[in-house]
Symmetry: C2
Subunit: 377 residues, 2 copies
Amino acid sequence: MQVEPQTFDRVLSSMCTEPHPDARTAAERFLATNPGDPGTYPTVTELEEEAVSMLGEIAGLDSPAGYVASGGTEANIQAVRIARDRFESRTSNRVGDHTPNRNERSTPNVVMPESGHFSFQKAANVLGVELRIVPTDDDHRADLEAVRHSVDDRTALVVGVAGTTEYGRVDPIPELGEIARSVDALFHVDAAWGGFVLPFTDYEWNFSHAPVDTMAIDPHKMGQAAVPAGGLLAREETLLDELAIDTPYLESTSQATLTGTRSGAGVASAVAAMEALWPGGYQRQYARSQHNADWLADALVARGFEVVEPTLPLVAADVPVSTFDSLRREGWRISRTATGEMRIVCMPHVTRSMLEAFVADLDRLQCRASVPVVSDD
Amino acid sequence: MQVEPQTFDRVLSSMCTEPHPDARTAAERFLATNPGDPGTYPTVTELEEEAVSMLGEIAGLDSPAGYVASGGTEANIQAVRIARDRFESRTSNRVGDHTPNRNERSTPNVVMPESGHFSFQKAANVLGVELRIVPTDDDHRADLEAVRHSVDDRTALVVGVAGTTEYGRVDPIPELGEIARSVDALFHVDAAWGGFVLPFTDYEWNFSHAPVDTMAIDPHKMGQAAVPAGGLLAREETLLDELAIDTPYLESTSQATLTGTRSGAGVASAVAAMEALWPGGYQRQYARSQHNADWLADALVARGFEVVEPTLPLVAADVPVSTFDSLRREGWRISRTATGEMRIVCMPHVTRSMLEAFVADLDRLQCRASVPVVSDD
């Protein structure tokens, strides 16, 4: 196989990054292990317990329940599944669990701001729940009044996002948690991307700040672990027990997951990354990334673009389609929001000089675009 | 992080193995790539197309649809999901797809032999379908009459296993396919483990032998790729389109999967392994593994154990619990079937000398067990 992966030097679109060197080493060392088979691979099984413990520390939770998932999508799907099954136990009068029979009841719903990740749409489709998508406010955050109007007595779960995919916004997490409580719904925070930078901000986003039941928090995003290493945390074991199949309690984490065989490389790399970087390394990286995002935002504002001011290391700006396409043709990996803005994620591998080169190319391509071209260009 | 994973030299319980050297190299090279984000990682996205094409060649299917999944569990869950959604489209008179409303209809069912993997129980739980588990015959294969009696007009899917988890049996695949056809159900073959050895046998197991609609076939098992690299194949794109969310056709494979971010390392290692080993290397490995299984079976028979004669490289025998536990204490990773037999999988890393050492330990521990012990032993 003679191909090489592209380098990271023009990647501005990804929420993943180069793994930390210790994480890479650990991934390679544990490549041939499977935490989905604890009887055969006890070492990596213990490492997973360590990973969950460290994720709990980051997310403000002593004695966390949880596991290292394939990614944030699995974590989010499982959170909806926990909520669906908790809701059905709470409201059902059926005996036994073998034949899920939703005939006589109407569908439970999940309420989420429109900034929520596509994985919740997958979850609703897979799990047979209704997804109520609620508009965000002018600052791209969950609109609390709209959420209050959307929840009802069939709401199984309210979702808040701590570091949104498109704009890097943090929803009003404590208030969303209260709305969930008011209708006896569970409350899930999607901090898949934000979880490793938010500890160094003033935002209230985690288990210690709000009545959070479950959380997605991914080592393989800002955590600098290798893919695949997502994280699902739950406030207590009884929440994870909702994922048990044919037994009242989980006999092993492996029964709970959406996978069978799992990547020991991901688990080991998560532990190695967190050991190397929490908290000081992550704090320094957050500062660098935020400064880079602020620098980029300023550079774009100075050039006359309308910029969504970054509250986390993520910048969106109304760069015209033609310029966007030209930049992509130059090899820049950039992405777009649903409303057409250019979106750049300042991950650990994104350096100031990368951004300077990017802005230089932007200038060059903007000039070219504004000069009438002869047809043979 | 100062721990080391255990070595493979006593692992007899796993359906995973050491990755082929080319697969390991590819995994390390592509560790920081994500085929779930094709716009950012085009190289590994192309590699995935190659992987699917090669899996199709192995499974007797030109122009396969499919993708590299997190593992066989995801492939099996998705097969059930395809069948559920196909069934509901076929039998529903509802307009639109946003609010799955199963109120007025009774639950679709999936019919599977009891040898089917636990992932189908997860699938039924997650997807809200009824799982009908049908007894196997005296040779641990699907009992066709029992399957015929179990299917009805609400059967969405019939499952056959090509290489069962506990006994390495191959179900009568063509006949099961006909039963599925007879009730307009889809037919899924779980060849997650068997798919890389069955091409070298006389069994009829794949798309060219039977009316198979979907198949699980995992490079990270007998395929010698790195974890995570499972495989889902579908006879045609329209089957995968059942996984589309809010659109009539899949706009990208990534929309279909149960994950978001995915492992480029797994995809690249799958291609590298198949390039290095298909077909000659896999054929030679199958012959070695099958000879090892036959040797082990003979050795156990000679020692008076009742052995389930291996039809594929997997051996089960009625070794007593005490001996089993003693062997585990000696560091041997061995597993048990649901009915208590010791089960050993002759994967590529399992050598004849490993098995000779195992049998020597078995002899030593059996002798010790049959000699009355003084209480201070």
